[in-house]
Symmetry: C2
Subunit: 209 residues, 2 copies
């Protein structure tokens, strides 16, 4: 969002209440959208527990460990089937209604947990499809573009970019399996990747303070 | 659904309660899924009124007339932004969780109301994207296929095919703007296209009896 604002875009933010274990991330999303000056912020409710099939949306335990996962370990159980396809489909509807031609998405393919829908080839295929799916696509009046500014950055680079932009990272949330008080577990893949990113960036994580 | 069953597929049916004016179609969907012998039938609740922008999901009147629309009249206000992209994204999640590799969708590009997301080029682009979006796509274990058996049939051909398959068309619902009793208005685009289809097929519409 901060990168989109820096590039001069008005931000119509979209978050999802999808039955995720870590719904506390929506509290963070709301705070951040508001503090950075979103033009609008909508939260779509879509119950992905209807399908399950993931540690984030079904009664499957979130794996815990001491080391961040590597791509070699395959696609983990925290993968939510077709989640980014669904998120982008909603963003496409929101963009069309708001007459926006640019969608920003924070996916990251490096340091990642092996999610198929975080890869650049998925994003380009979605963009191509999106331009055939909509009114503006048919009328040829507007070409829709999907921006993924974080996709090839390491977590350490993301932390440094955030610090350079003067962002307050204490507002952010990454943990898949927070305690009832919303505090990060520090042992899920998402916590471990975040931790390594902060260490490599040489920055203290203010969310752990 | 009847065509998929004829071709030997077990059917995991998916319908959407998306804030549509004609939510009565879900009653029909449930009856039909049950009577034809669905293995499973899920109804996903997704509130597209969050975005609006269509006569089906916002306080915009459904156009009424005496003649079916033609493609020349452009994309009508009953177009719901990105609806089929969203529907297919959910179907993709459901398919992945159910280990299904075939998605059937009843879109129709002929006799249509000018919807961009009912065209064959949209469907192929979605299929290509879907195979990059999912676990099976990455692992290369299963190729997902999207079937749209009605896409190039006229409404009359669809009526005749249904009759040949011995289907009970009195269970079906097409109207965009039914009365409180659920009865079709007979004057929206969807009613007019259906009416012309039955007339051309030489079949009485049992839903109007």
């Amino acid at each position: 969002m901060a990168l989109a604002l820096r590039d001069g875009f008005d931000c119509y933010c979209l978050s999802f209440d999808y039955g995720q274990r870590h719904a506390v991330e929506l509290v963070s999303a709301r705070k951040i959208a508001q503090s950075l000056g979103a033009t609008q912020h909508k939260i779509a409710t879509i119950d992905l527990r209807l399908f399950g099939g993931s540690a984030l949306t079904a009664d499957i335990s979130v794996p815990k460990g001491d080391h961040p996962p590597s791509a070699a370990s395959g696609i983990p159980v925290t993968y939510v089937p077709a989640r980014n396809t669904i998120f982008l489909a909603f963003a496409l509807a929101y963009a069309e209604v708001s007459k926006a031609s640019d969608i920003f998405l924070g996916v990251n393919a490096i340091d990642y947990s092996g999610y198929p829908d975080c890869r650049p080839e998925f994003i380009s295929a979605f963009e191509r499809m999106a331009n055939l799916a909509t009114k503006t696509g048919v009328e040829g009046t507007q070409r829709l573009q999907i921006h993924t500014p974080l996709i090839t950055m390491s977590k350490a680079e993301i932390v440094r970019a955030a610090v350079d932009l003067g962002l307050d990272l204490s507002m952010t949330h990454s943990c898949y399996d927070p305690g009832e008080d919303g505090r990060p577990c520090r042992r899920c893949d998402s916590c471990l990747l975040r931790q390594r990113g902060f260490i490599e960036a040489g920055v203290q994580d203010p969310a752990l303070a």
